[in-house]
């Protein structure tokens, strides 16, 4: 408890409370905050759109042969255990201008992803989507399939069953997963700075700004850290009891 709590206590104790409004009110800080919030929100939405179907597939994969099933599960979990910088390098090698896919994107459509806000969002989706997928998958696995079976016997199509039975059952898990995804995206640093670079207003998210401020004005860095911590705490408190992936209330 002390290991987890004391660093945060130190942050609060050493914060320059008197200068806080001035430090947080700077244009670059506001820009970084808005960028972080915006990209994290978008990344969360993308994660929900892509992640929920993936979670459904994963949860219903019990009938698959062992190796494809385990491989798929491993692939979903990999971004969780990969160091973020490694994720950034991998994304660069895939979507960079000389990347596996990026090369063609650049050659055919002149699209270059690194150094754009989209790159920030892609990096965030890569590191944070697994949270959502695992949360929803856990809920699906533990949900009672008999409701779906009964609905089917009553004449509902597969899509109707999904829309009116499955989704409402897992909605709390989706919400919990989405909040975790949002918080993780807010804190993303290594993959972002490697893949998207760092430029004020475009790719310089709050964590990157904090890192930079540490060299310029440590007080400002502490203020930014407090801000990030505050946002994280608010988000996690609103999750109440449901914030461990796979565990529902």
């Amino acid at each position: 408890m002390a290991v987890l709590g004391l660093p945060l206590v130190a942050l609060i104790v050493r914060a320059p409370w008197a200068q806080l409004p001035e430090l947080l009110g700077r244009t670059e800080t506001i820009a970084a905050l808005l960028l972080s919030l915006g990209t994290s929100a978008l990344a969360t939405i993308v994660s929900v759109i892509l992640g929920v179907p993936l979670a459904v597939v994963l949860a219903r994969s019990a009938s698959w042969p062992a190796i494809p099933r385990r491989l798929m599960r491993a692939l979903v979990t990999v971004p969780l255990v990969l160091p973020p910088v490694v994720g950034g390098v991998a994304l660069l090698l895939l979507l960079g201008r000389r990347g596996l896919i990026g090369e063609w994107l650049n050659a055919w459509w002149g699209v270059s992803i690194p150094f754009t806000t989209s790159a920030v969002m892609i990096a965030q989706v890569f590191v944070a989507m697994p949270f959502l997928v695992l949360a929803v998958e856990g809920a699906l696995r533990s949900s009672d399939r008999r409701f779906e079976v009964v609905a089917a016997t009553l004449g509902a199509s597969r899509f109707t069953v999904f829309r009116r039975i499955t989704l409402p059952l897992v909605a709390p898990a989706v919400a919990a997963g989405a909040l975790l995804t949002f918080t993780r995206s807010l804190g993303e640093f290594g993959a972002t700075i490697t893949f998207a670079g760092s430029f004020p207003g475009v790719t310089q998210t709050l964590p990157i700004a904090t890192y930079l401020e540490l060299q310029r004005d440590p007080n400002a860095a502490i203020a930014l850290s407090l801000l990030l911590m505050g946002v994280a705490v608010i988000v996690l408190v609103s999750l109440r009891d449901r914030w461990v992936p796979g565990v529902t209330a």
């Binding site: 660069l92 000389r98 690194p114 150094f115 670079g197 930079l212 060299q215 310029r216």
Partner: protein, 259 residues
């Protein structure tokens, strides 16, 4: 009988050890008495190749010493030292970052040991068709520059101001090697790094000098730190960096001689 044997054994051991000690003459290249321990050197990223070579040579001359190098943006390193990172020597890429450490009373004497000049760098093949500074304002090119708080970024800003020019960078990196990497990987069409970095990257990149660079030459100061865990070896390392042997390493790398 036993006591005699013990005394004889102890005496023999003492004589043998004394004999060993006297036969281990320090070689002329070593300082006397021999240096031991670890020397932790925090050095600017642009010193990577040259300091690695100097580490090798210093360790050859002083086998008892292990040099540990930590490279990074000078401003990051300065902040780490101020926050208490255990270091013996700090080699910065400009006097301002060294000043951060001096102001915290963690360094006193500093000596300028090399200078470095900026250069435009482009990937091999120059896909962006960059010919000079003016091309760095082209919005369609991906330009990577050092962030302002890093010495290379500060010098770049000064050079731009001298040229009355405003670039359109796409990313501001934390140290000069990060800029170099982005260019090397082809992610950036151009960047501004040091001449030494262009040399170090070999055939992967091409350097394009520009006139204003001559006005913003970076002076690199080096200093032992007040709280150095190994002050003797730290001083010896700094002396070696200022020696002729190290000078040839720096010349080879493309560094300039301080005025």
């Amino acid at each position: 009988m036993r006591r005699t044997a013990t005394v004889a054994l102890v005496a023999t051991t003492v004589f043998v050890l004394a004999g060993c000690a006297s036969s281990a003459e320090p070689s002329p290249a070593q300082s006397d008495p021999a240096l031991t321990g670890t020397v932790t050197v925090f050095a600017a990223a642009s010193l990577t190749e040259s300091f690695s070579e100097i580490e090798k040579q210093f360790e050859e001359r002083n086998p008892g010493v292990d040099v540990v190098l930590n490279f990074g943006g000078s401003s990051t390193l300065a902040e780490q030292i101020v926050q208490g990172a255990p270091a013996d020597v700090f080699g910065a890429a400009n006097p301002q970052t060294m000043k951060t450490v001096v102001d915290a009373s963690l360094a006193t004497e500093q000596t300028i040991f090399v200078t470095n000049t900026l250069e435009i760098v482009v990937p091999a093949g120059n896909p962006g068709g960059v010919t000079g500074l003016a091309d760095l304002a082209r919005p369609e090119l991906a330009i990577a520059l050092c962030a302002q708080e890093v010495p290379c970024g500060a010098a770049t800003e000064q050079a731009f101001a001298a040229a009355g020019f405003s670039a359109a960078p796409d990313t501001l990196e934390q140290d000069v090697k990060a800029v170099l990497t982005k260019v090397r990987l082809g992610e950036a069409d151009a960047g501004i790094v040091y001449r030494t970095d262009v040399k170090a990257a070999g055939g992967d990149v091409v350097g394009i000098p520009f006139d204003e660079a001559a006005d913003v030459v970076n002076d690199y100061p080096i200093s032992t730190l007040t709280d150095a865990p190994n002050p003797r070896a730290a001083r010896a390392f700094v002396e070696f960096v200022l020696s002729d042997a190290a000078r040839s390493v720096f010349d080879e790398a493309g560094f300039g001689v301080p005025q």
